[in-house]
């Protein structure tokens, strides 16, 4: 049996998906190299390669563990996450950087719990809705789901880390949508959400003024080209000046001239678009599209409801991050500091993405089991 299982696992591993992911990672490393060439971040591409290697290892490790066992463990993990998020806020334990308390220092390693919460939330939401079965949801069910996602979300908002907090919402939305919310309930929920957001916005307490300015400046960046609109303006110039074929690797004037903010992380897509043009940018979008389609296909073929929900949670988070990040770069969305999965530099982001993919792989590998 164990012989049989190993054989099955190896064969059912999603090599096509991995190939596309690897291709994106390669593009990422090249662009990070180009974007950091003349800056103090030179060499970040090698660091990124280590992160990717680490991510791959974590992915294979997670793919090994049966996702049903993960689902069994996840309530504990959820509890641990909430504790960690609270701990972050305690001055002695939480590490403050760039004006936000997001990190816990464990020896030399800075640990950012809010990224890991995403994986846990995907699993816990999948488990919650799978338990409800395919029956229609009651108001209680929905409120419980809201609380489940809302507690860590509020804790992360408090840090403050609006971007990461926002990435939790697609998990909830995907869960509700696939878990069987009906039209009336969703209308009520949307109305409530609008009222809540509008209230929070106008109360002036939920968001700090700089966060508000950042969120609104994308609508008209030229109003304040030196201030909050600066990043968007520079990003638009970078993308636009790329033209159809791009200015060539290491030749983007916006990227190389340091006009583009953080061109190796949040704005890597702008840097890539400047140097590789419309053709390159569309190729990247196509890769993302294929990866997402492949994941949805895996969800369709999943052995059971929790497996499918897990994959769809991953799809929801990835889709949301792609939409918000690329949307930000091309001026459709506000600047929220959400990284582009598999492209942006950053250990937490890379590790989370690979972990999420590992869980999805896990589900696919076990589609014929049972």
């Amino acid at each position: 049996m164990s012989q049989m299982r190993r054989f099955l696992s190896f064969r059912d591993f999603d090599w096509a998906l991995l190939a596309m992911v690897a291709l994106l990672c390669a593009l990422s490393v090249f662009e990070i190299y180009s974007a950091t060439l003349h800056t103090k971040y030179t060499g970040f591409h090698t660091k990124q390669m280590f992160w990717i290697a680490g991510g791959l290892a974590a992915m294979f490790l997670f793919a090994k563990i049966d996702y049903h066992r993960l689902l069994d463990w996840v309530p504990w993990a959820y509890g641990f996450c909430v504790v960690a998020l609270v701990a972050v806020m305690v001055p002695g334990i939480g590490h403050k950087a760039l004006g936000a308390r997001r990190w816990i220092k464990l020896g030399p390693i800075l640990f950012q719990p809010s990224e890991w919460v995403k994986v846990v939330l995907i699993l816990v939401v999948a488990r919650y809705f799978a338990n409800l079965g395919a029956r229609s949801l009651t108001g209680r069910d929905i409120l419980k789901a809201l609380a489940l996602v809302g507690i860590p979300m509020l804790l992360v908002l408090k840090q403050p880390d609006l971007g990461t907090a926002l990435t939790y919402t697609p998990i909830l939305i995907a869960g509700l949508f696939l878990g069987g919310i009906n039209l009336r309930q969703s209308l009520i929920l949307i109305t409530a959400a609008i009222v809540l957001v509008a209230g929070a916005w106008s109360s002036g307490k939920a968001l700090k003024p700089y966060q508000k300015a950042r969120l609104t400046s994308f609508i008209n960046p030229d109003n304040d080209p030196r201030g909050t609109g600066y990043q968007i303006r520079q990003s638009l110039i970078a993308v636009g000046s790329g033209g159809i074929w791009g200015q060539g690797a290491e030749k983007g004037t916006q990227t190389q001239g340091d006009f583009l903010p953080i061109p190796h992380a949040d704005f890597i897509f702008a840097a890539f678009s400047e140097e590789h043009g419309f053709a390159g940018a569309v190729l990247v979008l196509l890769l993302y599209f294929l990866i997402l389609m492949r994941l949805i296909q895996n969800a369709q073929t999943a052995a059971d409801l929790p497996g499918a929900l897990i994959i769809m949670g991953v799809v929801a988070v990835l889709t949301f991050q792609i939409a918000v990040n690329v949307g930000m770069v091309i001026g459709f969305m506000p600047v929220t500091g959400i990284p582009l999965p598999l492209m942006s530099y950053g250990g937490s982001s890379v590790l989370f993405t690979f972990l999420a993919l590992g869980v999805a792989m896990n589900v696919r590998m076990r589609r014929f089991v049972n």
Partner: protein, 690 residues
Amino acid sequence: MVFDKVTRGEKLSSVKLTAVQYGILLMMLALAAGLWRLQVLGADNFRVLAEQNRIRKVPILAGRGKLFDRENRLIVDNYPSISCFLVREQSRNVDADLPLIARGLHLDLDQLRTALHRYRTAPGYQPIPIKQDVTADEQAFIEAHRNELPELETIDEERRLYPRDGYAAHLIGYVGEVSEEMLNDPRYAAYEPGDVVGKAGVEETYDQLLRGRDGSRDVIVDSHGREVGYLRTQHAIPGQDLRLTIDNDLQRAAELAMGDRDGAIVAMDPRNGEILAMVSRPSFDPNAFAVRIGRSDWNKLLSDPSHPLMNKAIQAQLAPGSTFKILMSVAGLQEGLAQDLHVYCNGGANFYGHYYHCDAKHGAVDIHNAIPYSCDTFYYTLADKLGIDRIAAYATRFGYGQKTGIDLPGEQAGLMPSAQWVMKYYHRKWYAGETISVGIGQGAIEATPLQLARIIGGIASDGHMVRPHVTFPDELPADFRHALQDTYPGSGNAYIPINPEDWITITDGMAQVTEPGAFHTAGSAHLDGIDLAGKTGTAQVMSHEALDRSNKGRSTFPNAWFVGVTPRRNPELVVAVLWQNGEFSYYPARIGAKVVAAYVEKQRRLAHNLQPTKAPAPVEVGAVWSVPNAKGGKDTGETAHIRAGHFFVNPGADSRPALARDARGQAAGPAHPGPAQMGMALRELPWRKP
């Protein structure tokens, strides 16, 4: 419970999954559309923006043309300097940085804000000059704050270096930053804020030639304003050097002669109108203007009651006093009235019920001694006979009341009163008594020193009047020359024939002025061996009645004039001297005489080809000479002692190579004076045996 045991079995609805797939497809298409809009439709536009982001035009400032004197000796030079500019576009928040900038560059914060405010409408990429002549520590400050203050830029440029002590300052003028009012003037259409422009004197008139054309360099920069490379350089075209008609030797003599007295000197060649020297007092230091002048210093200059910025040589309009008697003599003689006019001067005369004073009781006066005596009684009578209309007609013909047309900005026209003039401006008739005052250059009549130089120089030149100018017209571009004459209109060149006998009478009379003699007004200005002719003048600054009431301080003293020519007929030089409140006219006559002496001595030196050698340091020479026996250099007829030795001779001083030759010849008899007696600057070395 939230955490129930995981149930298995159900599957997701494939309709919902398909809906999700379509949703993702739509999102991707929207993103791709956004990319299309930016990268395909907007590419050109964004490329321009990207270029503007990274390419900055850095101006290369053209060096301003230098000024030379007529013998190509440098008067105004340039020196390299670093200026600091502020480019608002390169900073996120300029206003917040201003206090730091002001501290680091030692600027006044309010003045800096005002300077920036003037550029509020200019585009953000335009550099705003905020500090000239940046010192080494200020430059270090700029370098050290490259990241905090990316808006600061430095640029190498050439700045004006003017002579010290206000030498010829009014003639040269000064440069400054173009003002807002000037920019609104169509004449300055080609100028941009921050440009340096000539604001007075030659610098203003010849700004177009002197300023050259600025170049620029396209510099590639990163977002911190650090230079990464260059693209294209358009070199600056330096301004044209300009040779002035000024003679440094004469200018220097005039400056020294004037000392710190208030007034002006104009020295002109009446044959062609070339200005050889021009002095105005009090003077100012134009170097203070080359670097930005502080507001308080500027206000001090503007509000100074002695008007240091005023070029009195062309702008002081004052009663010409007795110098007007030359014009009166011309009018009287030409009209045939003065030849036979004999007046007995008893210290004044009565006209129209009013007693008019004369300076002295000159006794019997006719046209021949009226000029050296400057007898008012004679000219009262002559003026009465001529009448104001004829006087005004002659005066106007010769140039009173009109600009001369000199190529310097701000020339004043003076004033020649007439019956029409009082009717036009005062709506009254001319009083016959006023003619009497005008006859001696008093009353409403006003003239500038330059006008007097041109008029009296012209009369001494047999009526050949010239247009004064400070550059050589042949050395100017033709179109500029023509434009110049339109810009500075005036009486210009003219020939007004004077009867030769009258001409001789008048010029001889002028020559008598500086001859020692009773009643001669400038006998003390006599120069041995130099034919100096001229006319003095004193003009009251207030009436006798007002003078009696006043405190009789310096400012109530009459203005003293002297206009001299050399030689008396067809002169090479005319000098007009004004000493304000100078009281006695023989003072300015002595000043004028010094200038004339300097001129004549230089001409004679040149005529004898005795130019001073170039090296100014003393030169050691060996010489053999004879020394007369007698004391005091008196020749006793005995044989001289032949002596030899080595000497240091100062070649710049009164050296006479011809003498040295004679001394070496040794054939010179005992009567020949040794070098010491010839005034050579020499020092005997310890005796050496030959």
